[in-house]
Amino acid sequence: MFFRKWIAVLAVLGTVALLSVLVIKSQQRPLDARLASDQLAQINYSTRLAEQFSREITRTRITRDTSFAALDGTVALWESADARLAADETGLADGPDTGTTLNRYRSAAAQRRQELADFKAAQLTFITAFERLRLEAENTLASLLANEAGIATREQVITLLDELASYGLQANPNNGGRIYSLMARLNGSVPAFEQAAREVRAAKDALQPVADSLTSDTPVALLDQLGAQVRDAIAAQDARIEHYTLALAAFAGALLLVFSLIGLRLRGSFNELDSINSNLEKLVEQRTDELNRTLEELRMQQAHLIQSEKLSSLGQMVAGVAHEINTPLGYALSNVETVKESLAIVESAGGLSDDAQERMVEADVLLEDSMHGMNQIDELVKGLKNFSRMDRSATELFDLNEGLETALKICQNQLKGGIEVERDLSELPAIHCAPSQLNQVFLNLINNASQAIDGTGVIRIQTRHEQDQVTIRISDTGCGMDADTRAHIFEPFFTTKAVGEGTGLGLSIVFRIIEDHGGRIDVDSTLGAGTTFTIPLPVRQTRTASASAAALVDDAAEPPMSAALQASA
């Protein structure tokens, strides 16, 4: 991991470095460009001056200029141009090729300017010789006689003069030969002129190589070569830049490709991540649902546990209380009956005073009342036993009216005061159910109804039988409840009572019990007007309540049928 990270960092650094190098290399340096154009301009200027120098030489020769003013001016310009050309700023001296060429040019140019002195001397000599020739020709022509020989000589002199003039200006191949033949023909007839002619020809012959050398195009050719070299260098640099540009383009293309690939991979990764995320969300949702369900189940189980614990401890308490009450009740009731019988015997024996007789009658009534009271106690204990169903089977055929009466009996104390109980009970078939559980339901609903009534009110209990269904309806004229409360009443631990007064388990247990019996519980409530609970129950149970009953009532679970018989050990 560590190495991979470093490799990635190095790769990025390498890429950036290469990119920078390529960018820098592919840039046309403006300094170089200007330098090159300066170089070329200087070279052109020197070239022009070199050419002008040649033209000046030619013009000087033709015009027989002896002042050399124009020529000297050109030379001065040329010299300064050459100096600038060789200066450090031009940079021509630095280049390996251009340096050599520049040196060659400069020596050639310098040599040319040195030869200029020779040219000037030769030119002067030639012009002087030509002036003497012209004077000698005039003298000769004037001295010649107008005879035949004189005329022929004149013609020869004039022809020689022309030949020499053209020879002096621009010698052609025939000039030299003709001059020689003319000279031979004169053969000393006009020695002064011939001398002058020979001098002109000698001066001309001396001038010609010097002038030729001066007008040769060596410096120009060298300058051309220099220019070509500069242009070559620029072209070479351009080519190099073009290479780098191409490389840069290729590299950029490659990078783009790499980035595209990375982008593609990233996109793939993101897609994958997205799908993983959405899967994760689904998973989380699923888990949350499961957890919620488990929580709900746990709450239900807790509620059931609390309820069964309550029932179980109630059953145990009832068992103890029943025994403790029934024992004294047994002899008390029996004794009252015995005493009553004894009193009857005493009374029938007669001989009592009126007062005693009266007291006898009163005692009889009082004993009758005592018996009534004790019978009520007996009924109450039986009711408690019935209600707790501690030792009753979990499911049996049961008359729901009986269950309602038992619940009412147990609630009796709460129903005193302004609460009136209206019974509207139809004859019901005994249904197969868990009586202890249904008793619990009835007790809960009647209890709630009585608590909903503040002051005076009516609790109405109705039972109906229609075909396969019995319906129990318990309504009160109490405070009722709002929609929000109504929506939550069947949830475990929901309570509207003050903390500590109710567990909030009552109606959740009611709901579960009714559900276990294949029934339904509907609630209809108007705030301030009262509440009605309606419970339709099937007469024939589609699913037995015994399974849930086993969970609720200890020791009542039916062992599996296969285990009904246990093989002897």
Partner: protein, 314 residues
């Protein structure tokens, strides 16, 4: 044992309760017509019994040291002819089942009792004792066990298994069919049909069939088929239901599920012996039948009794 064939003028009653006020109260009811003795504990009662042949023993269940069922069991050993009654304010299931199987009680009476009802019950018990003394009943458990193989299986009285659950029915038939003919029924009408068409000596029944307690059926069958012996199997025992089976059904044994197979075999053998003993003396069987308390009219279930009678006489 020194048993006399007839009762003395004043039948002897023995009451046992740890609450002496109960004893005082009971004595006040019966002292005029009976020779009453009282005991404050089980041990005291056993002491008295050893020297005094009580005709009827009435015991509380919840007492310190010795429970009512213990007292009744000991009493049955000392004085088998003494009729035993349990009078109790509250009993757990174990006690009730024990009072049937170990105490073989005549009646189960709840506190608070009704004076007249208790008088009637005691009178019936005294009568039962008198008859037992006259009949000179032999004990169900013989001193020397008879070899079962001496009698062929087919000659044995048949067993009727009444159970709504098919798997359980088959399991029982499998266990019992080796020793005697076994017939099965899944409903009351089935059972009546089997009893009518086969020679049945004992009925092994589930305590409720289709939610209906078998008490009514057994109560009705007693008068119509004297000598039938009843064994009740129960998975979800209901105390009141078993008390009813004692008082109105006079069942021989109540077995709680899961049932041990050897216990079942032993119980069935005992029941068969009892049936044979009764079959030899039909008069005695009829007498015993008369001792069964009649079902109160409000508990007679929707004419099932009439149906039984009609069916068996058809």
């Amino acid at each position: 044992m020194n048993a006399q064939p007839s009762l003395p003028d004043r039948p002897r009653l023995l009451f046992v309760d740890d609450e002496s006020r109960i004893l005082v109260s009971l004595k006040s009811i019966f002292r005029n017509d009976y020779d009453v003795r009282i005991a404050n504990s089980g041990a005291e009662a056993i002491d008295i019994l050893r020297g005094w042949p009580a005709d009827v023993l009435v015991s509380d269940q919840r007492m310190p040291e010795m429970t009512g069922v213990d007292v009744l069991r000991s009493a049955a050993e000392i004085r088998p002819t003494t009729t035993r009654i349990l009078l109790t304010g509250y009993s757990d299931l174990e006690a009730i089942i024990g009072s049937v199987n170990d105490g073989e009680i005549f009646r189960f009476v709840s506190k608070p009792w009704r004076r007249n009802e208790l008088r009637d019950t005691v009178a019936a018990a005294v009568k039962a004792t008198a008859r037992a003394l006259t009949a000179n009943d032999e004990p169900d458990t013989p001193a020397v066990p008879e070899p079962v193989s001496s009698v062929s299986v087919a000659d044995q009285p048949g067993v009727l298994i009444l159970d709504a659950d098919a798997a359980e029915r088959e399991a029982l038939r499998h266990v019992l069919s080796a020793d005697r003919p076994v017939h099965v029924a899944s409903s009351f009408l089935d059972a009546l049909e089997q009893i009518r068409t086969h020679q049945i000596g004992m009925v092994i029944t589930e305590s409720s069939i289709g939610g209906e307690p078998v008490t009514t059926l057994i109560n009705g069958l007693h008068s119509l088929r004297p000598g039938l012996v009843y064994i009740v199997l129960t998975g979800q025992p209901d105390a009141q239901h078993i008390i009813d089976l004692i008082n109105f059904g006079r069942v021989y044994r109540v077995l709680r599920k899961p049932i041990n197979v050897s216990v079942l075999r032993g119980t069935v053998n005992l029941a068969a012996r009892r049936h044979q003993s009764l079959a030899r003396r039909p008069e005695r069987a009829r007498e015993l039948t008369e001792e069964v308390a009649p079902m109160p009219p409000e508990r007679q279930n929707r004419g099932l009794f009439a149906k039984i009678r009609e069916f068996l006489h058809a």
